[in-house]
Point group: C2
DNA sequence: GGGTCAATTCTTGTATCCAAGTTTGTATCC
DNA sequence: GGATACAAACTTGGATACAAGAATTGACCC
C-alpha cells in the first residue's frame, strides 16, 4: 500500500501520518460511521498539539470521510444515499470513459498485462485471499486507466471507491462475489483486447452494477450507519 | 453569484468569507498565477488572526487553486498541462454521461427550459454582455444535469471549470466565440429534445473541444503562467 | 418517579507566540 | 564590476492559551 492520500506531496509530515492513520481506520471500518473523534484525543495519541490534527481533519473533511460542524463533535461520516448515488455516477462516467480509451489503445503487451493480473486474481481466489484480491482489483482498474492513457482517471476512481468501499466491509459472503467479479474482469479484458470500446464500457457498467445490489442489501441491514435523509 | 464554494455548509464563517474572496480573486485572474500570497497579509486585510487564513488556504489548496509548500511562500497555482488534461478528461466523462441521461429523460417542459436559456444567451450576445453570457452558460449546463436527474454532476463540472476558467480569461476575442458556443448549445439542446443520447453526447464533446484550441493558443502566448513540466 | 433547569464538561474556533527554513538584500572581497 | 558570503526579514509549521457554544449530567421541584 503506497501513498494513497497525497499523490503530489514531496515531504511527508506529521499531518500526513495522521491523515493516513485516520483514513485507514475509517475505510477499514475500525472507526464506525457516527463515531465521535476529537482533536485533543488524536493529538495526545500522536504526541503533538491540536494544530496538525486540525489540518488533518480538514483534509479528511475534503475527502468527505468525516463531518465537522462548528462547536459540535466531529464524527465519522455516515453513509448517505445521495453521496452514494453521486459517487456511483462519477465512477460510472469516469470508468466508462477510461474503458473506451483503453479499448481503443490496447496493444498486445497491454493485453498480456491484463491477463497476468486476472491470473493472479484466480490465485487469490484459490487461496481465499480477500485482502490480496482487493489489491489486485485496484490494480486491474489502474491498469485499464494506464492503458487508456488516462492515469489520472484512477485518482478519481480511487477517491470515490474510498468513500464507498468501507460500506462493502459490512457486506457478507465476499467469497460468493469473487468468482463473479473475476468473470466480469475477464469479460472486460476480452472487450479491451478486442479493441471494442462499447463492449468494454458496457461490461464495465455491468461490473459496477454488482455494487448496487450489495449496497441495497447492506442498507436495509445497517440503517444505523446511514444518514436519515428525509427528503 | 450564490455560494459557490461550500455547498454543504450551514453557517458561513470567516474562513468561508476568506475562501470566497480568494476564490474570486484567483478565478477572475486578478491574482495572477505565480503571485505570492502570505497568511499574515491576508489576515491583516480581514482583521483576523492567521488561523482562519490558514484554514482557508488549506481549502483552496484542496481545490488545487494555490500551492503551499513548507517554509516557502504560498503562491497562486500556475497552470499545468497535466492538470488541464485531467480536468478536461473528467469534464468530458461527466458531461457525456449527464448528456446521455438528459437525452433519455427530457420531457416537453425540460425542452422549453433549455430553449428559454438559449434565448437569453442570444439576448446576451446582442447586448455584448459577456458576464451575463458566462452565467447563462453555467446555467445551461446545470439544467442539463438536472434534466438528467444527476444534479451532483454539476458540482464536478463547476469544480473542474473553476480550475480552468481563469485560463480562458487570458484568451482574447470572446465575442468571436459566443456565436459558436450558442450554436453548440442549440445543437446539444436539439439532440436532447430529440431524445438522442449519442447525438447529445457527441455534440457535447464537440462543444468541449472548442476549449482545446483556445487553451493551446493561450499556452504559447502565456508560457510564464504555466508550470515548466519537464517530463 | 418523571420532568425541567442549571452547571459543568467537552467540543471546536480564534489569537498569539515560538521555531525552523527559505529568500532576499547588502556588504565585502576579489 | 561581479561574485560570494553573511545577516536580516519574511515565510509557514507547530504549540499553547483563551473564548464561545453544545451536550451531558446532575440536582431539584412537582
Amino acid at each position: 500500500m503506497t501513498r494513497m492520500i497525497t499523490p503530489t506531496q514531496d515531504k511527508r509530515g506529521i499531518v500526513d501520518e495522521i491523515v493516513d492513520f485516520l483514513y485507514a481506520e475509517i475505510t477499514s471500518l475500525r472507526l464506525l460511521p457516527g463515531t465521535r473523534i476529537s482533536e485533543p484525543d488524536i493529538a495526545e495519541r500522536f504526541g503533538v498539539s491540536r494544530q496538525p490534527v486540525r489540518d488533518a481533519f480538514r483534509r479528511l473533511e475534503a475527502m468527505e470521510l468525516i463531518l465537522v460542524r462548528p462547536k459540535k463533535a466531529t464524527e465519522v461520516r455516515k453513509f448517505s444515499a445521495l453521496a452514494i448515488e453521486k459517487s456511483r455516477f462519477l465512477r460510472a462516467a469516469v470508468e466508462a470513459a477510461a474503458l473506451r480509451e483503453a479499448a481503443k489503445k490496447c496493444g498486445k503487451a497491454d493485453g498480456f498485462q491484463l491477463d497476468a493480473c486476472i491470473a493472479m486474481q484466480h490465485r487469490a481466489l484459490a487461496q481465499n485471499d480477500h485482502a490480496g484480491f482487493g489489491v489486485l482489483d485496484y490494480e486491474f482498474h489502474q491498469q485499464i486507466c494506464q492503458i487508456g492513457g488516462v492515469p489520472y482517471a484512477f485518482d478519481v476512481i480511487r477517491a470515490e471507491k474510498a468513500k464507498v468501499d468501507r460500506l462493502c466491509v459490512l457486506g457478507l459472503a465476499k467469497e460468493r462475489r469473487m468468482p463473479e467479479l473475476i468473470a466480469d474482469h475477464e469479460a472486460i479484458a476480452a472487450a479491451i483486447k478486442a479493441n471494442d470500446p462499447e463492449a468494454a464500457a458496457s461490461a464495465g457498467m455491468l461490473h459496477l452494477s454488482r455494487l448496487d445490489e450489495t449496497i441495497a442489501a447492506i442498507r436495509i441491514n445497517n440503517a444505523a450507519y446511514f444518514e436519515d435523509d428525509r427528503s
